[in-house]
């Protein structure tokens, strides 16, 4: 008996210290990653006087006043409404265009399919800076300047290639026999696509939607150039306030915290699929 406990205890004792250093390093690393975010949250709960006063590690009298300002002041909360409106528009439209295109690439062989596919890839890399001015002129001339549609369409452009690229990878993983079986069973194409095919690539759709969302949510150059007042995104409102003198630090921090929340939520839901998308060599 004594000898068995000894042999069991021995390896545990040997591996213990190594695991511990691992934990310590990881905790330090996490601290480094998260302290800036903590700093933001801390300041969002303080009044301006407290922020500019003495240095504190946590808020002495936490207050939600800053958040109240944002949620009641029209010029602030409309920024969120605008951002969310065009982010959702852009994500849905991108997927609606990209799903059939990705299906074509994954299921059919046609003249120049490879070339087209790589051409799509180049579009994904195009820098938005090149497009800002022509888009501005184009939208001004058709009266779309400063509307949500303008920003959503401009973002769709950058997201369609990415979505096609991601979805194609996932669709390739679905055997073609499934399509054929469904036809033999009497499914029409639209019913097959919605009822059978889309559930099979649900995780791919999730990943593609995530990347569309992220691009549109954080993009500033285009959304800033294409809007003035009515459709201004929250990021643009924040930069304007950042560069203004006599800052209201607390409110700005609260606005920053509120921009993190949607992204963090989406990341939480798709975190397991993202790595899978990469395993397919896409994303």
């Amino acid at each position: 008996m004594a000898s068995t406990t000894e042999t069991l205890a021995a390896p545990a004792a040997r591996t213990l210290p190594r695991i511990r250093t691992r934990h310590v390093v990881m905790v330090l690393y996490l601290a480094f990653m998260l302290i800036p975010i903590y700093w933001l949250i801390k300041m969002s709960l303080q009044t301006n006087r407290e922020i500019l006063g003495a240095f504190t590690l946590w808020p002495q009298n936490p207050t939600l006043d800053n958040y109240r300002v944002i949620l009641t002041d029209r010029s602030w909360y409309m920024g969120y409404v605008n951002s969310i409106t065009y982010v959702v528009m852009n994500t849905v439209l991108s997927l609606a265009v990209a799903l059939p295109a990705a299906y074509a690439f994954s299921r059919y062989r046609f003249l120049g399919d490879k070339h087209l596919f790589f051409w799509l890839l180049t579009n994904r890399m195009a820098p938005p800076a090149v497009f800002a001015l022509p888009f501005f002129q184009l939208y001004s001339s058709v009266g779309l300047f400063d509307t949500h549609i303008a920003v959503a369409l401009a973002h769709t452009l950058f997201n369609v290639p990415l979505a096609v690229w991601i979805l194609e990878g996932f669709m390739r993983g679905v055997p073609k026999e499934i399509d054929e079986t469904a036809y033999i069973d009497g499914y029409s194409f639209p019913r097959f696509f919605v009822k059978i095919f889309m559930p099979l690539i649900a995780s791919g759709i999730g990943v593609a939607a995530f990347f569309c969302f992220m691009f549109s949510w954080v993009e500033l150059l285009l959304s800033r150039t294409l809007t003035a007042v009515n459709a201004q995104p929250i990021a643009s409102i924040m930069t304007r306030t950042v560069s203004a003198s006599g800052l209201d630090w607390g409110v700005l921090c609260a606005a920053g915290v509120l921009t993190i929340i949607p992204g963090a939520l989406v990341i939480y839901f798709v975190r397991n699929y993202i790595a899978k998308g990469f395993a397919l060599g896409r994303v």
Binding site: L34, P36, L40, P100, F118, A129, T239, S243
Partner: protein, 326 residues
């Protein structure tokens, strides 16, 4: 609420439009143009299958072709004209750019960004991936590390403005320095040349989590036997990491590296909010924005320079992707 209704309406119109297009065009193809019955049924089915992929692709191609080709050509033409856009001045804008010191600084900074940020983010990500590997709370840690990616660049710049602020009360760095007895607060954003690295660091901070998630999935895919064999042969942990693990996930490392490179090529918000391009921190997109609406000719010329700088990375990446597809 009008904007939301407007948005929902557009979504509805867009999606119904797409669905209607796909449904009707396929119907047309199957029923009218190439009906799969009658004297030429066999030939018609083959033909329909030749045409069908193009029906699926059509909207995507129109959107991209019209929308992407037109701006590139439009930008180039505009860059050949003067400030007001009426007089053709050939390559005058480009000549002015090359002669100006600000442009050269922006190019230098942009090249620094391209060299430093992807390398640093990938390296940190790889380190974190290796450390969270087989950690009991690794998944929680991963979710937390991923967090900075959810922050918009503006939000991130805001956070780091507080970290870098040049007073003992607001700035985190100065607060720490103060705790160690520093006399005077420093403004890291105004240190010539090195301030670029402080700004780049924000981007590294944002992208590390992304790199880590991808690389840790790749690390988990490494066959156990190779690592075990190395241990049997008496390799040290460092050797195992650099000689056994890294070569096996080289492909993923390259993908992560290039993805971050493309992001860096697009970055503009961080510099814009941190310094507005002052103190010698301009990069090309922010340099372009400083001319926007004031001298469109020059702004589009800068945009075109960006395009040219992107090309080699683009071509290289496509070659890579092509090789993988084979």
């Amino acid at each position: 609420m009008p904007p939301i209704l407007q948005g929902l309406f557009t979504i509805l119109v867009g999606v119904t439009g797409c669905v209607a297009y796909f449904w009707l065009s396929n119907l047309l193809l199957d029923r009218v143009i190439c009906p799969p019955h009658g004297p030429h049924a066999g030939r018609n089915i083959t033909r329909a299958n030749l045409i069908r992929p193009w029906l699926f692709l059509f909207p995507a191609l129109v959107v991209l072709g019209l929308y992407l080709a037109y701006p590139v050509v439009g930008s180039f033409v505009r860059s050949l004209h003067d400030r007001s856009g009426t007089e053709f001045i050939g390559l005058g804008n480009y000549a002015d750019l090359i002669a100006s010191g600000g442009f050269r600084v922006a190019v230098r900074n942009n090249i620094l960004w391209l060299l430093v940020v992807p390398a640093a983010a990938t390296a940190f990500g790889l380190l974190a991936a290796q450390l969270t590997d087989r950690l009991s709370w690794g998944n929680v840690a991963k979710s937390l590390i991923f967090m900075p990616m959810a922050i918009s660049f503006v939000g991130a710049s805001l956070i780091w403005r507080f970290v870098y602020d040049n007073s003992f009360d607001i700035g985190l760095i100065n607060a720490v320095r103060g705790a160690f007895g520093a006399e005077r607060a420093i403004d890291v954003i105004q240190i010539p040349f090195w301030n670029n690295f402080f700004i780049m660091f924000i981007m590294v901070w944002i992208q590390t989590g992304f790199a880590m998630v991808i690389l840790s999935a790749a690390l988990r895919g490494i066959p156990e036997e190779t690592v075990e064999a190395a241990i049997m042969d008496g390799a040290s942990p460092t050797q195992i990491f650099f000689r056994i693990k890294v070569p096996q996930i080289m492909g993923t490392i390259v993908v992560v590296w290039t993805t971050i490179t493309f992001l860096v090529l697009k970055v503009f918000d961080i510099v814009y909010t941190m310094t507005g391009g002052n103190f010698g921190t301009h990069i090309l997109p922010s340099y372009m924005m400083s001319f926007m609406f004031r001298d469109d000719g020059r702004a589009t010329a800068v945009a075109f320079v960006i395009m040219i700088l992107v090309l080699p990375v683009m071509i290289w990446n496509i070659r890579q992707a092509r090789r993988e597809m084979r």
